[in-house]
């Protein structure tokens, strides 16, 4: 059963698990690595076949073949000359590809700063000057066909940013700012995951990258830039409860008094595809369940349980958060 039917891969792919994301790239940075991967697999297959054949001859071959194999000449040819030639070629290829992948950010790139937290992702969209244009969490929206510079930071311990279908991974190291470039060539949702062990809920630290058509992207960003509507009815009561329950101490909601920075920014939580850093679909039930008892869904995370709130209140808060799109 698929609980997060949000990744853009067809059903057959999802059923068979093939091709695996690393070999199913969706952008130029990942696909250059995929090409390299296939070359490496071919190389490995050929060498393994050679070794197996040689072993076969050594153990069960005819006397004539065995005597040809049983001398230092074989060591010089297959053990030294062959690896040197193959490895030199691979090294040159690998180095030039590394240089391409590590090209410094260009001014034309879209800039996003992602900060690793235990165990979620803080996302800040940057403007040309490097100022923060918009805050979000656990979801990165990018336009198709444009290169995105992701600035990687950490606020606590080492994490690693990895979206297999878009690019390789780079670590988020406290005290440093690493840079990764990625690009998606087709609209879709691409799963990402923390790849560096960061204790506790490391296993449940996911996120996603959403690639939009350029027009769609412009509309999306414009919609986000508009101030959220005043909540009415149940949502209004939820807004009051949100404030009274102290949620604002940890969470920020743009345009309100809630300005906490300890937890994910909730200004646009209603439009996110997932909750709990990529692990739950976002709907009324999961939102209420998450607020009521986050520890049973993601053990060890930093959100305290609000299980003492009655159902109406949880519903109201969830309804309020749903309006923050």
């Amino acid at each position: 059963m698929t609980w997060l039917p949000i990744f853009t891969r067809s059903t057959e792919q999802a059923l068979s698990g093939w091709p695996p994301p690393v070999l199913d790239p969706a952008g130029p940075f990942a696909s250059s690595i995929t090409t390299l991967s296939w070359i490496l697999f071919a190389m490995a297959g050929a060498v393994l076949a050679l070794v197996l054949a040689a072993l076969w001859v050594a153990l069960a071959g005819s006397q004539r073949l065995r005597s040809r194999l049983g001398g230092t000449r074989v060591v010089w040819l297959a053990g030294i000359a062959l690896p040197v030639v193959v490895l030199t070629a691979l090294l040159i290829y690998g180095l030039s590809l590394t240089r391409t992948l590590r090209t410094p950010p260009q001014p034309s790139d879209i800039r996003v700063r992602v900060t690793g937290e235990m165990w979620w992702w803080r996302v800040a969209y940057l403007d040309r000057a490097g100022g923060v244009a918009m805050m979000d969490a656990n979801e990165i929206h990018i336009p198709v066909g444009r290169t995105v510079t992701v600035e990687l930071e950490s606020s606590d311990i080492i994490h690693s940013f990895w979206v297999p279908r878009l690019s390789g991974k780079i670590d988020m190291v406290p005290g440093r700012r690493n840079v990764l470039r990625m690009q998606a060539d087709a609209p879709g949702v691409y799963a990402g995951q923390c790849a560096e062990y960061c204790g506790g809920a490391h296993a449940l630290m996911g996120f996603m990258v959403v690639a939009h058509d350029p027009d769609d992207y412009a509309r999306f960003m414009a919609a986000r830039a508009r101030p959220a509507p005043q909540p009415g009815g149940q949502a209004a009561r939820g807004a009051q409860l949100f404030q009274d329950s102290g949620c604002g101490a940890c969470h920020r909601i743009a345009g309100t008094e809630a300005n906490g920075l300890a937890g994910p920014d909730l200004s646009h939580v209603g439009s996110r595809r997932t909750l709990g850093a990529g692990i739950l679909p976002n709907n009324r039930g999961t939102m209420i369940g998450w607020i009521g008892d986050p520890q049973s869904l993601k053990p060890g995370n930093r959100m305290p349980a609000y299980s003492t709130l009655p159902g109406q209140d949880l519903t109201a808060i969830a309804a309020y958060l749903e309006t923050r799109r």
Partner: protein, 92 residues
């Protein structure tokens, strides 16, 4: 033959490697790093060559001959590794 000649080839590789690591850490990239890397590589390859001529002239009994061959192959492998080591800077 002695230990110094036997391990000399690889010792020069180590010297070259750590020098390049230092250069890369200080300058990261750019012209300085490439020039220094090239210079260091030439120096170390020359060192291997010098060692080669010294060992070439050695003679002696079975053990000396054996160690001489071993040293020469070590020098060859070290030179290859030195050359590869210089690729990242020289090819960029």
């Amino acid at each position: 033959m002695n230990w110094r000649l036997l391990l000399g080839g690889m010792a020069i590789w180590a010297l070259h490697f750590f020098a390049l690591y230092g250069i890369g850490s200080i300058w990261h990239s750019g012209m300085n790093a490439r020039l220094l890397t090239g210079l260091m590589t030439l120096l170390c390859l020359a060192g291997e060559g010098w060692l080669l001529t010294r060992i070439w002239r050695q003679s002696g009994d079975h053990l000396d001959a054996w160690m001489r061959h071993l040293s020469l192959t070590l020098i060859a492998l070290a030179s290859l590794a030195i050359l590869w080591q210089a690729f990242p800077a020289l090819l960029s």
